[in-house]
Amino acid sequence: MKKTLILALLVLSPTIFAKEIKVNVQGMICSLCSQGVQKKLSKVPGVIKSAFQLGKKEGDVKILPSVVITTEGDNDLDDKFINKLINEAGYNVASIERK
């Protein structure tokens, strides 16, 4: 019973403790642009998934292109790291939102 519980915790922990970081990116205007960011993120340990949203206009409000990075709880990518990664892909970070 105890073993099962530990096992279940181990299996579930990445999802239970997963964190989402939303990075708004300037210049990432098409899926081709996003490829570089996606490729780089796929190589970062602890990153479970990255979901891209291209920019759009809702009424008069401009919504910037963004990527939502899901990480295992213990891997909190810091702002400096995220900035470097986005810059290496060729784009600029406008803002970072953490949940």
Partner: protein, 210 residues
């Protein structure tokens, strides 16, 4: 119309003006028309510099001029806007040329060029100019301009379609400006274009980012 679009999706293949991409990225591209072809593999070792190999073939009548280069590309300027992007690149290459136009001979060759583009999610413009010289073989210049628009804004996982118009001038190969309406598609890391000039010359281009 939809049949034509689907046909293009499957049989057409090409190239975006992206000589430098993300750090550690590789671009393979092939651009082809009856009067020229441009094939290249470029590796970006930073987000500003890339280098690789580039083969050009210019066809005048039945004669070909082939040129192979080791090429260096530099992204001199990049503007990242909220919903737009602009780039300015410069290029240089050294290699060899082999021409049948005068008489067959192989000699050293050099190329240089510059290109700029500006695009939003629905508008596109670009201009590029290349100059090739092989002192004892030939000199060639090429200027290409494009405008385009996208009828819809695709999501990340959808195919994006563009309508474009290309004007190309290669005075040493063709005396007239070649005007080519074309369709551009891209899906994730693959981009392909299919066009036909106003004089019914085909154009097939494909580009893949790795």
């Amino acid at each position: 119309m939809s049949k034509l679009v689907w046909l293009c999706y499957f049989i057409s293949l090409y190239s975006f003006a992206h000589p430098v991409i993300y750090k550690d990225g590789t671009v393979v591209s092939s651009s082809n028309m009856p009067s020229y072809s441009d094939n290249q593999v470029m590796y970006s070792w930073s987000n500003r510099w890339s280098s690789g190999i580039n083969h050009w073939r210019f066809t005048k009548g039945k004669n070909n001029t082939d040129m192979g280069f080791l090429k260096l590309n530099h992204l001199l300027y990049r503007y990242n806007g909220d919903d737009s992007q602009a780039n300015f690149y410069v290029h240089g290459g050294v290699g060899i040329a082999d021409s049948e136009i005068e008489r067959r001979q192989t000699n050293e060759a050099f190329m240089t060029g510059a290109e700029g583009d500006w695009e939003t999610r629905t508008l596109y413009t670009s201009l590029k100019h290349y100059y090739f010289t092989s002192p004892q073989v030939t000199d060639l210049a090429m200027t290409q301009a494009r405008v385009g628009f996208a009828p819809y804004e695709a999501e990340f996982e959808q195919i994006q379609t563009w309508f474009m118009l290309q004007a190309m001038y290669m005075p040493d190969v063709e005396s007239e400006v070649i005007i080519t309406p074309l369709l551009r598609f891209f899906y994730k890391n693959v981009l392909w274009e299919l066009g036909s000039s106003t004089r019914a010359e085909w154009m097939i281009n494909v580009m893949v980012h790795y």
